[in-house]
């Protein structure tokens, strides 16, 4: 039972990691139907910015708590700025042309950002300091769950609540839902579509940056390539849950996290990713629009 609990929490950790990235994917997809390949890179840039801030502030001798808050904040601001700029440069001019062109543009951006960080920083793995202190009351359970993981769960839950509030109850959220349903129609009723899309990119990127800082302090190291793999996995999770749906993204992430965790724990660790993908294919065969996705009927 203890082992089961350990695997369960491990899966929850993975799921939370995927969820923080998948949310950005699914938000962007919901609004402009673009697989934002560069999203994983934004996550990586957020984590790198966090590392730089942590190092500089540690050097200047700030207190630990202030460093954590500042690192997460600055990383989120910078990632949001990157997301905003990328949308303006690589996606906005392509609105209205073939969807595949926008996808290639996104791939190009992803390649560019990876190499930008590689050249400006380093290609080596850098150690990522874990600043979240060990809590006394958690010590007996240290082999099952670490404080970083608990912070990760809480952050994911908070982000989820905040996003739900944003989408359901604010003016901007209303505008976002309108644009997702019908871009032209919402333009006609006076929604500034460009602003809504920019806002979506900013929010999605900021969430990814928060995820980046937390995940890297959990894992303990970083290099320029971490975004790509995490991005692919998160995208799988988003599709699993039904892309475009936010509860779907979180559910898909958790399901993916748990399947991976239990499979590795009980069966074999070699074929972990194979199992994740087979699982995805199976779910999509029986539910072609994902777990919570709506299946639209075609009209001619």
């Amino acid at each position: 039972m203890d082992y089961f609990f350990e695997l369960f929490l491990g899966g929850l950790t993975r799921g939370s990691i995927y969820a923080l990235i998948a949310l950005g994917y699914t938000m962007v997809y919901g609004i402009i139907e673009l697989i934002n390949f560069a999203h994983g890179e934004i996550y990586m840039i957020g984590a790198f910015t966090g590392l730089i801030v942590i190092s500089v502030l540690t050097f200047m001798g700030w207190p630990t708590l202030a460093i954590i808050v500042m690192a997460a904040l600055i990383a989120m601001i910078y990632s949001a700025a990157y997301g905003f700029t990328i949308e303006k440069i690589a996606y906005k001019p392509l609105r209205g042309s073939q969807r595949l062109s926008a996808l290639i543009s996104a791939i190009g951006m992803s390649l560019f950002l990876q190499n930008y960080v590689l050249l400006a920083q380093t290609s080596n793995f850098l150690p990522y300091p874990n600043l979240i202190p060990e809590w006394e009351w958690l010590k007996p359970y240290a082999h099952i769950v670490r404080p970083t993981e608990i912070v990760l769960y809480i952050s994911t839950a908070l982000v989820m609540v905040a996003l739900t509030y944003l989408i359901k109850f604010t003016r901007m959220g209303k505008a976002m839902r309108a644009v997702a349903q019908d871009q032209e129609m919402s333009m006609l009723v006076g929604v500034d579509v460009n602003r809504v899309i920019s806002f979506t990119f900013i929010v999605g990127s900021a969430i990814a940056a928060l995820g980046g800082v937390l995940v890297m302090s959990h894992i303990g190291q970083i290099n320029f390539y971490v975004g790509f793999i995490a991005g692919i996995k998160a995208f799988v999770a988003a599709v699993l849950g039904g892309i475009g749906s936010m509860p779907g993204a979180v559910l898909g992430s958790l399901v993916l996290g748990w399947t991976e965790s239990f499979f590795t724990g009980y069966i074999s660790s070699d074929y972990e990713d194979v199992f994740a993908f087979v699982f995805l294919v199976l779910i999509l065969i029986f539910r072609p629009a994902g777990l919570l996705g709506r299946s639209d009927t075609d009209k001619v």
Binding site: V56, S101, L284, D298
Partner: protein, 410 residues
């Protein structure tokens, strides 16, 4: 032309980019020695570069907009200069003759290293044309195309290792096996559309690669298979250079055959069914086209070319391991198709040559080449979203008969 307002705008852009690149470009932390490197001169470079580039960007954007407007006003389909030249008989024949001559003398003029690069490019031409059937004609986004390429390469390598099967036997077998895999993948994904299809194919590609990586008894795992023989020529012993030249001509032949087949397919009944399926699935079914058969045939035929490309790839490199078949490979092949212009044969050829040769010759800038490559993809798509040669839709022109006035004159 350069008004004060524009300068102000560019100044703001450069300020924004200086802010944006500040932490990553300027600060470098040495976590082991606990020192911080401040590289302020880089910030000045970014600012200056962004300032200049923003002018270029705005100018190019304005030209693109103007061109779009003009095309709308004139209400004619503007055919680019290059395509007009191609359709002109006076240029086609000399052009064809020169390119044939170039292709024939190439391996004898340039070193065998250069020939090797060109062989790689030709493999991508063949594989790209195969993917073009799936993505360009049938409109099914396939992100795991490399799986079929891997099937081809491994079937040659393994059959040769265990049974001593020669290249010429393996070429059709590899194609056939890949075709079977294409149908196997095709069946479950028939119901999926758009990006769900993309992600399932991506998953399929990863499954194949991970199985190859982990199933040591079958595929020798990450260490791969070495000493794969090059194709033989009626039992003659060929030196390394001669066999490269031989492989080169063989590849030219395979590419020509692919072009021929794809061209014939495009205008055939099944080809038109693919295009109809791409344009509108429901309307296409209403016209009595069997969706299942059409989709499966697209997957199967696309996979066949990838399989044959894989066999040649294994023969060329003489060593394969799962690392050659990552998702990036799929992405590059997809870029070949989209960059060149979806659905256009010439476009795919040009796309393959650019995408394979450019990084090779950018080696001079070694570490910057992938950066430049990524930027080029973005710029290319922003300014020519239809690819280099956008497929021109066949349009029938109906002109008002002017016979009556002519008769009166006569």
């Amino acid at each position: 032309m350069m008004s004060l307002q524009e300068i102000k705008k560019s100044f703001l852009v450069s300020l924004w980019f200086m802010f944006l690149t500040f932490p990553i470009m300027v600060i470098k932390v040495n976590t082991i020695e606990q020192t911080i490197d401040w590289r302020w001169w880089r910030m000045a470079g970014v600012g200056l570069g962004a300032f200049c580039l923003s002018f270029v960007w705005r100018y190019a954007m304005a030209r693109k907009e103007a061109g779009k407007k003009k095309a709308e006003d004139d209400n004619i389909v503007k055919v680019p200069l290059f395509q007009r030249l191609l359709s002109d008989r006076r240029f086609t024949i000399p052009g064809l003759v020169t390119s044939v001559a170039l292709v024939v003398i190439f391996p004898f003029v340039f070193s065998w290293y250069q020939t090797g690069i060109l062989i790689t490019a030709l493999i991508y031409v063949v594989v790209g044309l195969g993917l073009n059937i799936v993505v360009g004609l049938a409109g099914l986004l396939d992100l795991g195309y490399v799986a079929f390429y891997a099937v081809g390469a491994y079937s040659y390598a393994l059959l040769n290792y265990h049974f001593g099967v020669t290249f010429w036997m393996a070429l059709p077998i590899g194609g056939l096996l890949a075709m079977i895999f294409g149908i196997l993948l095709g069946f479950p994904v028939l119901r999926l559309r758009g990006d769900y299809l993309a992600i399932v194919t991506l998953g399929f590609g990863e499954i194949i690669r991970l199985v190859l990586e982990n199933w040591n008894e079958f595929s020798f795992g990450p260490s791969g298979i070495a000493n794969i023989p090059k194709p033989g020529l009626f039992g003659l012993k060929l030196s390394l250079q001669e066999s490269t030249i031989y492989l080169y001509f063989l590849m030219i032949g395979l590419a020509l055959m692919t072009i021929f087949v794809v061209r014939r397919l495009q205008d055939s009944r099944i080809g038109r069914a693919w295009i109809a399926l791409r344009e509108d699935e429901v309307a296409c079914q209403a016209m009595g086209i069997d969706k299942t058969r059409t989709k499966l045939s697209a997957f199967a035929l696309g996979a066949t070319w990838a399989g044959m490309g894989g066999v040649v790839f294994a023969a060329k490199t003489a060593f394969i391991n799962p690392a050659s078949f990552t998702i990036w490979e799929s992405v590059i092949i997809l870029c070949v198709v989209v960059l060149g212009g979806m659905g256009s044969i010439l476009g795919v050829i040009i796309g393959a040559l650019i995408l394979i040769l450019l990084p090779e010759y950018l080696r001079a800038f070694s570490e910057y080449r992938m950066l430049v490559f990524g930027a080029l993809l973005v710029v290319m798509m922003v300014f020519r979203p239809g690819g280099i040669i956008s497929g021109v839709r066949r349009i029938y022109h109906f002109e008002e008969p002017q016979q009556s006035t002519d008769n009166q004159k006569a």
